[in-house]
């Protein structure tokens, strides 16, 4: 059979196989689209025009489970990219799956970088047992977007047109109820029908109570379970009172805000360019702002994650030598030009850019830059992160609970059961 296999594969290869790639072509995968995608494309074009000897060929795949499924499967069969974007929240899972190739000191030197150039929290999230597995690119978090035009005439705008007077859940609910009473269909929008949106809001509300999702390998131990139930109950209450949209897919959740139907939006900083661009084109039709999520549950905290660059581990096919140096050149260049990425709303993970005057002058980034201190990253666990069992739980348990299919306490118990089972 072996001989037969190889004869067949040889002839099949001769007939159909794709042509070999040029030596210094860097195959790049990301999951960045919309405003993010446009800015990343600009960076890639910028790199390509400055480097005639290295050319990036980019592919954008669908965010979330589809991306990470493809990345893992392709790496396993030696068909992965040379470099890919990766969520640091998922790094522990990626390391366990053996998908990430360690970034050595030599690699960093090739990129002209060192670990001390980055926010320590981001480097920590990318490190396991003293080995670095990814190069952090940004920190991005959940923020509160608001429609200034809709809030005009309410007590929630100060003289400069900035959001004011929402410092607790009660105040938030009063504001939402007032809007609802004034005929606003959906006062606050977020992705109520998808894993990402549900998890981000839930994790923010949990962290604002000082709750922790995983402690010492146990899911929601002790009173963390009660805090999780409170977080879900809050989201459920918003749903029952008609404050949030029912089962909104990601796009619909954004459209509700951009079409002026929602006064508030709970979403990541990455949508900043969508509204900046629309306002610049004159198609938005209202003034808007974005602030750090107010301490609704008592403490200041907001869900955060990082995009990072990673090199897939493909066994014998893992890139090395000149190709690897070229990839590190790409990564180094991206970090040093991260101001173009900050334009997409993100906080650069690379300190020389994050601390530059140019960055400090950017709006609305500067308004919410404070959140870097209150960022609540996902626990370092193989259970959490984008496209992880926890995201499944957000979609399959938190979502239905928010929409009234389960009680919050039941949902918490089910999360604990499911994730504990997944640990084995």
């Amino acid at each position: 059979m072996k001989l037969f296999n190889s004869i067949l594969s040889a002839s099949a290869l001769a007939m159909f196989a794709a042509p070999a790639f040029a030596q210094q072509e860097v195959i790049w995968w990301d999951f960045l689209s919309g405003g993010d995608g446009v800015r990343m494309q600009k960076l890639i074009d910028g790199f390509n025009s400055e480097h005639p000897d290295i050319q990036i060929t980019g592919t954008t795949l669908e965010w979330g489970v589809p991306f990470y499924t493809k990345a893992r499967t392709s790496a396993a069969v030696g068909e992965g990219p040379d470099v890919m974007t990766y969520h640091l929240s998922r790094a522990p899972l990626g390391i366990e799956e053996g998908v990430l190739s360690p970034i050595t000191d030599e690699d960093l030197a090739n990129a002209g970088l060192s670990t001390s150039d980055f926010f320590p929290a981001a480097i920590d999230a990318a490190t396991s047992d003293g080995t670095l597995y990814a190069v952090p690119f940004d920190i991005h978090a959940l923020v509160l977007y608001y429609n200034k035009s809709m809030l005009e005439g309410t007590p929630y705008l100060d003289a400069d047109g900035n959001l004011t007077g929402i410092e607790s859940l009660d105040e938030m609910n009063t504001a939402l109820q007032t809007l609802k009473d004034n005929g606003v269909q959906t006062p606050v929008t977020y992705q109520t029908g998808g894993d990402g949106g549900l998890w981000r809001v839930f994790y923010t509300l949990l962290s604002q109570q000082g709750g922790e999702f995983i402690v010492g390998g146990e899911v929601l131990p002790g009173d963390n379970a009660d805090k999780a139930a409170t977080a879900i109950a809050t989201m459920k209450d918003w749903q029952e009172r008609g404050f949030t949209p029912e089962q909104a897919e990601y796009e619909a959740s954004v459209a509700l805000f951009s079409s002026g139907e929602s006064a508030f939006q709970l979403n990541g900083v990455w949508e900043v360019p969508t509204f900046t661009d629309a306002a610049a084109n004159g198609t938005l039709g209202f003034d808007w702002g974005a602030v750090e999520i107010p301490p609704l549950m008592g403490q200041e905290a907001t869900w955060a994650d990082s995009h990072a660059f990673a090199i897939p581990n493909e066994g014998d096919d893992t890139i090395s030598g000149e190709k690897r140096a070229a990839v590190m050149t790409v990564i180094g260049w991206m970090e040093k030009n991260a101001i173009g990425w900050a334009d997409a709303g993100h906080i650069p993970a690379y300190l020389p850019v994050a601390e530059s005057d140019e960055y400090k002058a950017m709006e609305p980034n500067a308004t919410y830059a404070s959140l870097a201190n209150n960022a609540a990253f996902d626990p370092q666990s193989t259970l959490t992160g984008v496209a992880s069992p926890t995201y499944d739980a957000a979609l399959n348990i938190i979502g239905p609970a928010v929409h009234g299919y389960f009680e919050p306490e039941e949902a918490v118990q089910q999360i604990k059961d499911d994730l504990t089972a997944a640990m084995q």
């Binding site: 290869l13 196989a17 499967t73 949508e271």
Partner: protein, 274 residues
């Protein structure tokens, strides 16, 4: 007579209304695709009110749609030609030559018709990895070459070719290959194009296997490409609909032009119409 005419008018009218409702999704996709994104989410009416082809330009130039067309058409044509050829040869042998193992082979063909190869994707994928055919046309094509139903249909048609014609050809000194390609193929040209059309539509629409075996954007086929590479962020309904319609356009056009032929093909290849 009058009530009959009235009745027939009612039936005609009713049928046309149902047919129009049936294609409403396509109409709505078209209307959406011609609107600006902002208009789309402003809860507009059912009638077209904007004629914005920017979405189409965007779809054509900012996605790899053209590359995916090439991959889809290329792989679908190769699969179709190879399937037709190997099925015809196999069916001819099954129908005309009494070779050892003939009954067994036919049983295998019948059985594999009942069991879709979708159940085998995991091991087929592993096999493709061993052949290093992930992300190649070969990877898309090879497992799709098994279409036992074409053998079954061909065999039925070959069985009904009059014995005398074949015997005459044998007396003329023709070998089996000559008989197949010079006698049986021309005699069964109708069923051949019919099977080719039906096979082509099937392969063109295949999603699951190409979705598994292709990971790089420039090797994707149309059905896979438009789902894997999309705008997950920001507003994109109109754009999504333009991409979807452009993706469907070539085969829809081909169908509209050759609709008589396609209708015939479906009827003949299923054996309902001889």
């Amino acid at each position: 007579m009058n009530t009959r005419r009235l009745e027939s008018a009612i039936v005609t009218g009713f049928t046309i209304i149902v047919a129009l409702i049936w294609v409403f999704p396509l109409y709505w996709a078209l209307v959406t695709s011609l609107r600006s994104e902002n208009r789309v989410v402003s809860r507009p009416g059912l009638l077209p009110d904007e004629f914005n082809i920017g979405n189409y330009a965007d779809a054509l130039f900012n996605t790899q749609l053209l590359t995916w067309y090439v991959n889809s058409v290329g792989t679908a044509v190769i699969v179709t030609v190879v399937v037709i050829l190997i099925s015809m040869m196999c069916a001819y042998a099954l129908s005309q030559i009494n070779f050892p193992g003939r009954r067994l082979l036919y049983l295998v063909v019948l059985a594999s018709f009942m069991i879709p190869s979708q159940a085998l994707v995991v091991t087929q994928f592993i096999l493709m990895d061993q052949f290093r055919l992930i992300n190649t046309w070969g990877g898309i094509i090879l497992p799709q070459l098994i279409v036992p139903v074409t053998i079954i249909v061909y065999k039925q048609f070959f069985d009904s070719v009059p014995r005398e014609m074949r015997e005459a050809a044998v007396l003329d000194g023709g070998g089996d290959y000559a008989i197949l390609f010079k006698l049986f193929l021309p005699l069964n040209w109708g069923i051949t194009t019919a099977l080719a059309i039906v096979t082509f539509i099937g392969v063109w629409n295949a999603f699951f296997w190409p979705f598994l075996v292709i990971t790089s954007e420039d090797m994707m086929t149309i059905p896979v490409g438009i789902t894997q590479v999309n705008d997950a962020f920001g507003l994109a309904y109109a754009r999504l609909m333009s991409v979807a319609l452009l993706a469907a356009l070539p085969v829809v056009l081909a169908y509209l032009i050759f609709q008589r032929r396609v209708t015939e093909a479906v009827m003949i290849s299923s054996g309902v119409k001889g």
